[in-house]
Amino acid sequence: MRRLLALILLATAIAVPAGAVASPAGAPDGFTGLDRRNERADGWSETKTLTRTFVQGDGSTYSFPSYKVTVSADQTRNLRGRQRIEISWKGAQPSGGRAGNPFGENGLNQEYPVVILQCRGVDDPSLPKSKQLRPETCWTGSVAQRSQITRAEGEASWIHDADADAADKERLSGIDPFPSAEQCPTADVAGYYTHLTPFVAAKGTSFSACDAASMPPEAAVGTAAPPAEIAAYTDTDGSGEVQFEVRSDVENESLGCSHKVACSVVVIPIVGLSCDQPQTPMTRSDQACRKGGRFPAGSSNFANEGVDQAVSPSLWWAASNWKNRFAIPITFGLPPDACDVLDPRPPTGFYGSELLAQAALQWAPAYCLNKGRFKFQLNQMSDEAGWNLMENGGGAAAVVSSEHDQRGSDPVGYAPTAVTGFAVGYQVDKPDNGGELTDLRLNARLLAKLMSQSYLGSDLGRGHPGIGGNPLSIVNDPEFIELNPGLSQTSQEAAATLLSLSNDSDIIEQVTDYIAHDQDAMDFMHGKKDPWGMVINPRYRDLELPRADWPLLDTYVPETASECRQNNPGVYFSQLAAPVTTLRKIAEALLDAWPYVATRCEFDTGTNTYKMGRIDRQSFGSRFMLGIVSLGDAERYGLRSAALETKPGTYVEPSARSLGAAVRLADQAKQAHPFALDQADVQRSSDAYPGTMIVYTAARLQNLPEEDAAKVAQFIRVSMSEGQRPGSGNGELPAGYLPIQRTGVTAKLYDSAQDVADAIEEQQAPEPTDPTGNGGGDGGPGGSIVPPGDVPIDDVPSADAGPSAVPTGPAAPIAMPATQPVDSSLAGGLLPLLILLGAAGCLVATVLRVAGPALRRRR
């Protein structure tokens, strides 16, 4: 007993100082990466006073109370396609009639929302008109969002807009001259009112937007990217916030925003149309203009009922709304292919981890646009494949995040390059239109349950032998409900799985290592029931952890009456898990709330066959999806990351502080080797994030061609200096990475990187050349990459192996490797055996034949 007490005391004594020091170390020089709420250098904010006014019948002006609205955005510079920026506001008029899905045309039936659009051009009167912002350059995904077509007079409130030009008060307005009946057959109907807001594409084409056919191609039904424009909801306290996804010219060519074409995000808080002097008696359109909404503030409009047009988002283009706009100027970073276009030099490939993807996106232009540096290119593949390429000379360096087995004879140095990690990203809506969940908590056993396919998914899984009593999905699991109360318990198939990687990855290794160090999770993996009676899928029972790949082991094919399933028998749990090959796909699936679950049945009338496919996007308001993402992607796309359990009852989110605390725990066994993060230490600590991973640049310390060695050393040094400056510009470190600095917790990483850079550049113990002649992997076609287990003959250096092929001097014979034996006992033994057997068969048969009658005769 006394010993136990002493142990506890000792443990606290160790833990407390560690936690105490971590906070000052992580905080100082403004790690901005992981905490999006921090004030950013490129943030934006503006305040305006918005007032709705009516000109009364007697000519006097009546003003409603004003709203002093402040709009701010967290980042506006060097954005990338599909990046999400956080826009928040306060002081606006509370909204009413909240829609289930505020995006695109689904958000039109709301009152007093805040309309947020992406538009080409900026609000700067000094610029030529073509670079200015107009309603015509603002993107909407549907006609109904920009044009009012053949409205009865009671729905034509815009013709009394106090701020509108005389032309816009006509029965037909918006385009001059108005399109003919052939161009827009439905637009001009006598007695009805129409206003068109055409869309002018980046190349100058004008789309009249009078029906779906006269919209730009990206606005077609079912386009690749769902609508981003939003009619957002203001809470009753006048504030609101939303994550707005920006689109570059890669995603939306007609809108055409890029690093060359300036764009803005336009935020229009709707306070209602201002109306001009009415006729007496008031016409129906006069009355329509003066309406003030039928929904009380804070109410919902699930039935999608009609709303008062004068306070709806559909008239965002009307002059009195448009003048209330906040135009947030945004700039885009270089497109991902900038280096291919701008730099003709051949790239030097670094091969490996996708964890570095977002950093490499920003780093690459700092190399290719600087003639003093080499052209850096990160080729993403599994860590193991990148490592193999580096070892056999196919690539200058590998990008890995854990120690790998060395197969070649050359020593390899690991230089720390970035501190980042994985996150369990989620997209979860609170029930009853309560908005997005922002704090999800998970523990190792829940991850083990998800990954071991122990949730049933739907009633189809009930027949699975051994686990028929398990919950359908994580939202029905009492353990999850206890951790995350207040969520909807309506099960969906996507909630039974964690979207993960199908190939080998250091990330999977880290996730499984986290599970392997949790006693409860391992008890579950070994077949023990959890306190609520849930058992593991027997196929995954006693699976060896940690491991770099997660196999699909289940074989259960449900028996159902569904004809489609009978025609496409498939392993149900594998269809639920449906792992993908890259983290980027997982991030985009989360962004779109579009799981990869492949259980949708379709009947193709053309071929009369059933087929299985990916299920539909989840509908806004009832989304539930989990996936493993990199911290870089999570920050870029504004995905939310779950807090993971460390000590029992302690849940740690990825943040600068928690990454720093984990780096503090990591230690290096040997110089130039990786820093190992022991999950056992993490689970004892109260503030270290278990998903922290250090990404290394690994390169050979011997026999690397001099040219490559210089490039790798340069890369390590540059990424340790300017590459660790947080920011969104070229060469800077994006959000989601903890900067490695000369001082503080990351000092050991910094020192190690400098040492390894020197060692790589020196190439100690230089030998004449690389005898296997594999140095020029980027040279000759077909390469000289030796697949493991190949016949030795391939070790003969090809003469076409490229620049590094060595001229043979008669003077210095090169020590060549020995020929490997390739033997086959089958080949050696077959013919003698056949002949022997044949001879023996003849002999025995003859003896039997001769001896048989003789025997009989004797009898």
Binding site: G773, G780, P781, G782, G783, I785, P787, D790, V791, P792, I793, D794, D795, V796, P797, S798, A799, D800, A805, V806, P807, T808, P813, I814, A815, M816, P817, A818, T819, Q820, P821, V822, D823, S824, S825, L826, A827, G828, G829, L830, L831, P832, L834, I835, L837, G838, A839, A840, G841, C842, V844, A845, L848, R849, A851, G852, P853, L855, R856
Partner: protein, 325 residues
């Protein structure tokens, strides 16, 4: 597996006994017109067993000896014929017919002739075909598909059989440094000079100079008393030419396991099952026919079929065996 013979009059059975036909493809004998005139007494258990054993061992002997005979002797007949046809085809292709592209790589259809290999000192003249799976090397030496074609810049690897199906590479271990190897391919003629014979443990040859072409002939050899028919270890003969033809880029970087040295082609198993089923069907057919027609007539009809099927079956079996023997 061949259906054959058995003249087992030893026991004139009075009636066809129920016997498992699949196990021993020997047909029931002389059913009717058999006058039970001089029975030596009812067959005893021991006699019946002796008969069965004798037939079984006869079958084993026939199967083994047929296979050995085809691998060592009959196979060379078909290999020589295939070489004749390939030679004519290569001649045609090298003449540049309008309907067929000459084989210069990087990808040549498997089984097409790609070069003519002549080694005067050991009297070898063989047409090299594309592909090194055991089925490909039945007709002649095979060129490994992830290497350049013989005569092109780089290292070209050619696999040849050592003992069976003509054993075209049986004698290449007799080559000594300095011997000439002439290669005619679609780009012209090159003479290679042998660098030496290389076995497991020997160092690889020095890297080739720029523009040089290497040719590595690969086969197997055995040691000891039965060395000639027990080729167990791979052996390599390296040769070099100073100036080779340019090699087009884009050839495959890997070949399937069946095309590596000593590789076997498991893909032939279904075909083997089919061949064996046909043999079984023939056996049953012979049994049925003998109920109706005279023995002589049945055998006149069945023998060619049996031979052809056995031959084809052995060819398929060869694909399941290593590609260098």
């Amino acid at each position: 597996m061949t259906v054959t013979l058995e003249k087992e009059k030893a026991v004139p059975a009075r009636r066809p006994k129920r016997r498992k036909p699949a196990k021993q493809p020997k047909q029931s004998k002389q059913p009717r017109q058999q006058t039970p005139k001089a029975p030596l007494g009812p067959p005893k258990g021991a006699d019946a067993a002796a008969t069965v054993m004798s037939s079984a061992f006869t079958m084993i002997a026939i199967v083994c000896l047929w296979m050995a005979a085809q691998m060592l002797f009959l196979g060379s007949i078909s290999q020589h014929r295939a070489q004749d046809l390939l030679y004519a085809e290569l001649r045609h292709v090298l003449a540049g017919p309008p309907d067929k592209a000459p084989p210069v790589g990087p990808v040549v259809p498997v089984g097409d002739p790609v070069a003519l290999l002549t080694i005067p000192s050991i009297g070898l003249e063989q047409v090299v075909v594309e592909g090194t799976a055991s089925g490909d090397t039945l007709v002649g030496p095979g060129h490994r598909r992830d290497t350049v074609l013989p005569g092109q810049v780089g290292t070209s690897v050619v696999y040849g059989r050592a003992a069976t199906y003509g054993g075209p590479f049986a004698d290449i271990t007799d080559l000594v440094a300095g011997d000439d190897i002439t290669v005619v391919n679609a780009q012209g003629t090159r003479v290679f000079e042998v660098l030496g014979v290389r076995r497991a443990g020997d160092p690889l040859p020095q890297p080739a100079a720029d523009g040089a072409g290497r040719l590595t002939l690969v086969t197997a050899e055995g040691s000891g008393r039965f060395g000639a028919i027990a080729p167990e270890n791979t052996v390599y003969v390296d040769a070099e030419t100073k100036k080779a033809f340019p090699a087009p880029p884009g050839r495959p970087t890997v070949v399937p396991e069946s095309e590596l040295a000593m590789g076997t082609d498991k893909g032939a198993l279904p075909l083997l099952a089919l061949c064996l089923a046909l043999l079984l069907a023939l056996t049953l057919g012979v049994v049925a026919a003998r109920q109706r027609w005279s023995t002589a007539l049945v055998w006149v009809v069945a023998c060619p079929l049996a031979l052809a099927l056995s031959w084809a079956t052995t060819d398929v079996v060869m694909r399941l065996l290593p590609n260098l023997i």
